[in-house]
């Protein structure tokens, strides 16, 4: 059984059905990517899993426990943390203050301090700039901060919503490298990406969504060569 099990998930906004009966599972320790066209329901799926939107129907199980309809802050305490689309760092606060917010669920000061040091070890740039306002960081550094903040609570699983969006090409490469590194250290990752080629390269399995439904599921290597996937998301070359 996977670490995350989603069964027959539906997400509706008024009369609009964003996700229609989606089922998938994510094995512990792997990177699974979720790709699909705009409006296919990728972000809605992540938001439903992290409890930020209500699942209309279906079951979401995390680490063997039913988390459907559970409050978002409690899901974070369960060890499932989302890095939001567009980074959502708090620009006027310092880098360190942003990180400390990620340790909200940790009561113990010493533990929080250790968590911060772990994040600084992973992202030395953040340590250099710990006293700077987060808004003064470059786009890539802000993405590192958003990921670092999510790692503060020591989650078992990360949900990443388009971490490469709006980043310079040279930075995109390093963001994907960081994601691979996090996965190697044992954190499970569910990744939503528009940069489908890169996402398929670093992930083990992939889920392809179309109009809120499952279009394909399988090993990323296989899907990279799948004619339907190539046609719809990768284009020529």
């Amino acid at each position: 059984m996977g670490l995350l099990e989603v069964t027959d998930l539906w997400v509706r906004y008024g009369s609009i059905e964003a996700v229609r009966g989606l089922s998938f599972s994510v094995e512990e320790g792997s990177i699974v990517c979720l790709i699909g066209a705009n409006g296919a329901g990728k972000s809605s799926t992540l938001l439903a899993v992290s409890g930020l939107v209500r699942a209309g129907n279906g079951r979401i199980r995390f680490a063997g426990k039913d988390i459907t309809g559970r409050r978002a802050d409690l899901i974070v305490r369960d060890g499932l943390v989302q890095v939001p689309e567009g980074r959502a760092i708090l620009a006027p606060l310092t880098v360190e203050e942003n990180l400390d917010l990620g340790a909200w669920t940790i009561g113990d000061q010493r533990q929080a301090h250790e968590a911060r040091n772990r994040v600084y070890a992973l992202f030395p740039r953040l340590a250099e700039r710990s006293r700077q306002a987060a808004g003064s960081l470059s786009g890539g550094e802000q993405q590192m901060l958003a990921i670092g903040r999510a790692l503060m609570s020591g989650p078992r699983m990360l949900l990443l919503d388009e971490p490469s969006m709006g980043l310079a090409p040279v930075v995109v490469t390093s963001v994907f490298r960081v994601i691979e590194g996090i996965a190697r250290s044992g954190t499970t990752i569910l990744l939503v990406e528009q940069n489908a080629r890169q996402a398929l390269r670093i992930s083990q399995r992939a889920i392809v969504l179309s109009h809120g439904r499952l279009l394909r599921e399988g090993e990323s290597k296989t899907l990279l060569a799948d004619p339907v996937v190539v046609e719809a998301f990768l284009g020529k070359t």
Binding site: G14, P169, Q194
Partner: protein, 595 residues
């Protein structure tokens, strides 16, 4: 389904209950009916400013001016109400224009405090002029007024005036003006880059609000028959504001519901408690306490106000009507001819510098743009690309240096003027009007091309319907060109990221610009969608548009741009063709990376 149906009924049932309660109290007591009608008029005066994103508390002051002016003219000069009332309204308008000039530069809480001060000044003036106003003891008008004889006519007049107001607001809400107000309330900056003159609309809103409050004051004077400066205290301003908040300031009918509820509730409670046991009756404030509780409940359960709940449902049922699109016509009509003489006169920036708090976001940037080409602007995050677009579109003024557009200097011009001069833009962080449909967003882009005045909207001149229809058709065609026809009726905020970007492009194209500044148009799009966008940008070029594209998708930049400028730390580090740029050492180092 039945549960959904039931939920939908609740707000309508509440609205009907309020109306029923209002009819009930009105039938029994004419004084209550007058009060109800006047409160509804006051609520509309609050709405006039709120829906232009202004928190004004001047209504009580204007109500006082209207009340005393009309009363003095009628009693001391013996003029008929038909003259004294319009005169009072005009005076309020005049005062609004005069104090609006300095006051409307303020926003948010500063505006609230300043307008509150205005209300107090009016009240103090009333107290200080006893010869004219009766001073602190108040003015009793009944001596000069055949009170009983005037009563019925008064109620009828108030009702007629209210009906007129309702028509004016209803007609305005469906017009260019109403759309502009909604756009300003939602995102003032984006509205200004759509060619909407925010200052002018704020002045208009303040003027309407003042005149309506003045009329309400005049009716109040003639209905009550006596005036006291304490009728126009701070608490009156707060009451008026709460009508709009409870009812919902998003739609014009919201404040009507709010005033209906908050007027009827205390009256009904007063009357029903009057008959109850003496223990309760001894609490004179009980009706007020219960009204306050009701207010709290509404704010907790219907945060957008009652009208918001009703409006959301209507949007749900209206659904996805894209409107029938007349095919054959090309949505991308060629932009107007440039008035400059040579290609170098199209757009050029000279030594452009912008400093933000000691940081040079852009430093001595000089670039020239020719008509009909696609330019790329690339560089690391924070290199000054967005600052460049903000400078050219007039949202930010340069610290030094100049921007020449078709032979004229435009630095220092306001954003709406620049938009009307032919420069349109999209935003890196999407700034659509979220609650409006995708189609309405694009129609806002047509703002500068709809010439109907508010007066012809109110008079229902045929030109208005024709221009609105044309704008709607053009907007639908633009959405079709961007592959968004099916989503036209959806509120823009519910669309996916990439679709919102396309709506923004359609909205910018609706301005019929000569130059289009696109800030990361492909962010949130996958490779196939990005290459489709690239083809569309080339089509725009073929139609004669000039484009400046800020992007990180190198396939798009290298595929469509003829010339590329690379920024790093606010300076141009490279300039050239795609081939030159992709081989440039500095660019590889700073931006592209070496594999």
């Amino acid at each position: 389904m039945s549960r959904v149906g039931f939920r939908r009924l609740v707000p309508w049932a509440v609205a009907c209950l309020i109306l029923a309660a209002d009819v009930f109290i009105s039938v029994r007591n004419h004084a209550d009916l007058d009060r109800l009608l006047i409160n509804v008029i006051l609520a509309l005066s609050a709405f006039a400013t709120l829906h232009a994103r202004m928190l004004s508390l001047a209504n009580a002051g204007f109500m006082a001016i209207g009340a005393y002016t009309s009363a003095i003219l009628a009693v001391k000069l013996g003029l008929p109400v038909a003259i004294s009332l319009p005169a009072a309204v005009l005076l309020c308008g005049l005062v609004a224009v005069v104090i609006g000039l300095p006051v409307l530069r303020l926003t948010d809480v500063y505006l609230a405090i300043c307008t509150l001060g205005f209300g107090e000044v009016v009240r103090i003036l009333i107290v200080l002029l006893p010869g004219l106003t009766g001073g602190p003891t108040g003015a009793n008008l009944s001596t000069g007024f055949p009170y009983e004889a005037m009563r019925r006519t008064q109620t009828w007049m108030i009702a007629a005036f209210l009906a007129l107001l309702v028509y004016l607001f209803w007609a305005m809400s469906r017009s260019k003006t109403g759309r502009a107000f909604r756009a300003i309330r939602d995102r003032p900056q984006a509205a200004s880059t759509m060619g909407i003159d925010i200052v002018a609309y704020r002045n208009l809103a303040f003027l309407m609000s003042a005149m309506i409050a003045g009329a309400a004051g005049a009716f109040y004077a003639h209905s009550v028959g006596s005036l006291d400066n304490s009728d126009f205290r701070f608490t009156r301003a707060v009451d008026i504001l709460s009508y709009a908040v409870v009812g919902g300031s998003g739609q014009w009918f919201g404040p009507i519901l709010g005033a209906g509820l908050l007027t009827a509730l205390p009256i009904l409670l007063r009357d029903s408690l009057g008959a109850s046991i003496g223990f309760l009756r001894s609490f004179a404030q009980l009706p007020n306490i219960l009204t306050g509780l009701g207010l709290l409940l509404v704010i907790i359960f219907l945060p957008g106000g009652m009208a918001h709940a009703l409006h959301l449902q209507r949007k749900g049922t209206r659904g996805r009507t894209a409107g029938s699109v007349e095919s054959g016509k090309d949505a991308l009509a060629a932009p107007g001819a440039a008035t400059g003489t040579g290609p170098q006169d199209f757009l050029s920036v000279h030594e452009l510098t912008r400093v933000f708090g000691g940081v040079e976001a852009l430093r001595n940037v000089s670039l020239q743009f020719e008509k009909g080409r696609i330019y790329g602007l690339i560089g690391p995050n924070g290199a000054g690309k967005t600052t460049f677009i903000n400078l050219v579109s007039g949202l930010v003024t340069p610290t030094s240096g100049g921007i020449m557009w078709q032979g004229k200097a435009i630095h220092g011009h306001r954003a709406h003027q620049i938009a009307r001069a032919g420069i349109a833009r999209t935003y890196q962080s999407i700034r659509l009007f979220d609650e409006m449909s995708a189609l309405d967003n694009v129609i806002v882009g047509h703002h500068a091309h709809i010439h109907t005045s508010l007066l012809s909207t109110w008079l229902r001149l045929p030109r208005e319907a024709r221009e609105e229809g044309e704008a709607r058709d053009q907007a639908a065609r633009l959405l079709e060109r961007l592959g968004l026809s099916e989503l036209a009726g959806r509120p823009a905020g519910t669309l996916s990221y990439g679709d919102q970007r396309r709506v923004e492009i359609a909205r910018a194209l609706a301005l019929h610009p000569l130059l289009l500044l696109l800030d990361e148009p492909a962010a949130g799009m996958n490779e196939v969608e990005t290459s489709r966008l690239g083809r569309f940008l080339l089509e725009l070029k073929d139609h004669g548009y000039t484009l400046v594209v800020v992007e990180h998708h190198m396939d798009l930049i290298m595929g469509v741009c003829e010339r590329i400028a690379v920024l790093n730390f606010g300076r141009v580090i490279a300039l050239g063709t795609p081939t030159e740029i992709s081989g440039n050492d500095q660019v590889l180092e700073a931006y592209l990376g070496r594999d």
